[in-house]
């Protein structure tokens, strides 16, 4: 069981989805909910959207990057923390990168 959890943890420690433009950004009860144009199907949470916790300082910078990508209509690559926020609905983002 321990090996299984470790393997799963290693496999998904930096789960990312393919580069995609952002389709929707929503503010709801302290959580920024992000829905990419290409929807993934491997979220550990109850929805496939990504989340940012606005009570955490480090998520403010990621939010700024997401808004820049939206404004410039550029695709982003997102990596998750495997931690669910917003009542278990959204995987919290650990990394956002914008590439041409």
């Amino acid at each position: 069981m321990y090996k299984y959890i470790l393997a799963l943890s290693l496999a998904c420690s930096s789960c990312a989805f393919a580069s995609s433009k952002i389709k929707q950004v929503e503010l709801d009860n302290g959580v920024v909910v992000i829905l990419p144009n290409i929807v993934r199907n491997d979220s550990p949470c109850t929805t496939q959207s990504w989340g940012l916790d606005m009570s955490q300082e480090q998520d403010h910078a990621l939010y700024g990057l997401i808004l820049t990508a939206v404004a410039m209509a550029k695709p982003v690559t997102i990596e998750g923390t495997q931690v669910c926020i917003g009542n278990g609905r959204y995987e919290r983002i650990s990394k956002v990168s914008i590439k041409d």
Partner: protein, 246 residues
């Protein structure tokens, strides 16, 4: 009864997506409105502020919503607003619970400065505007634009005049109503007029600017077509298309 209450609550908090058309900051509170927003119906909202919604900048949520609304405003993206059904942030303006930005992912990367052709709602982008003269606009379809193909399309429509000439199959403006122009939008009655080109009919009288005339010699044997009134344009929707910066 419970279902009715739930339905009423849902209907009153949900809103149609629309472009942001006003934003102001006052005493650490953001007041804004969108084109699609209906007047507030909650009792705490004053008559002068019924068209506005508010949120406070004193919370993490409020500051994040402000960034979202400024992004939407600067890029002409639509937002969808859900009400908190109270005026907790400012005395007489309805407070919002959540805000959603709807991005147009069909846009090319960083196309600021380009001109797009949009449906009448001003939100749905049809493609890249190319050129136009009286009566038609040419654009590159958005799917072709993204794949860098050349696919010109045209939207045909005239609009702006107070009223359209209507022809009649009988004398003294009697008989069947006829029309000669191609697809036309009357700004007076917000209706599209079209003509059934497959069925030409001899016109014997003309109704123009509130009076009935006989056709003059040059228009003798003038043929018009049965008039078709329609409420929507096949491409633009419920009104004329819009051209604006992306």
């Amino acid at each position: 009864m419970r279902q009715f209450i739930l339905l009423t609550l849902f209907a009153s908090t949900a809103a149609q997506a629309g472009l942001v058309n006003q934003v102001e900051v006052k005493n650490n509170t953001v007041l804004f409105s969108t084109e699609s927003m209906t007047d507030s119906t909650i009792s705490c909202a004053s008559n002068t502020n019924k068209k506005l919604r508010a949120f406070s900048l004193n919370t993490h949520d409020g500051r994040a919503m402000y960034s979202l609304i400024v992004t939407a405003l600067s890029k002409n993206y639509a937002v969808e607003v859900h009400s908190a059904l109270d005026c907790a942030d400012t005395q007489d303006v309805e407070r919002i619970q959540s805000l959603r930005l709807l991005a147009d992912t069909s846009r090319e990367n960083n196309i600021s400065g380009s001109i797009g052709l949009y449906k009448h709602d001003g939100v749905t982008r049809l493609g890249l505007y190319q050129s136009g003269t009286l009566g038609f606009w040419r654009y590159i379809d958005k799917d072709a634009e993204n794949s860098h193909q050349s696919a010109f399309k045209e939207v045909r429509m005239q609009f702006g005049r107070q009223s359209v000439d209507t022809y009649y199959s009988g004398l003294n403006c009697t008989g069947e109503q006829l029309f000669h122009e191609s697809l036309y939008y009357s700004t007076e009655d917000k209706t599209f007029y079209n003509s059934d080109k497959a069925n030409p009919v001899l016109a014997k009288s003309i109704y123009r600017d509130g009076a009935c005339f006989k056709p003059d010699i040059s228009s003798y044997n003038f043929k018009a077509y049965p008039l078709i009134k329609q409420t929507t344009h096949p491409v633009c929707g419920t009104g004329p298309c819009k051209i604006r910066e992306d």
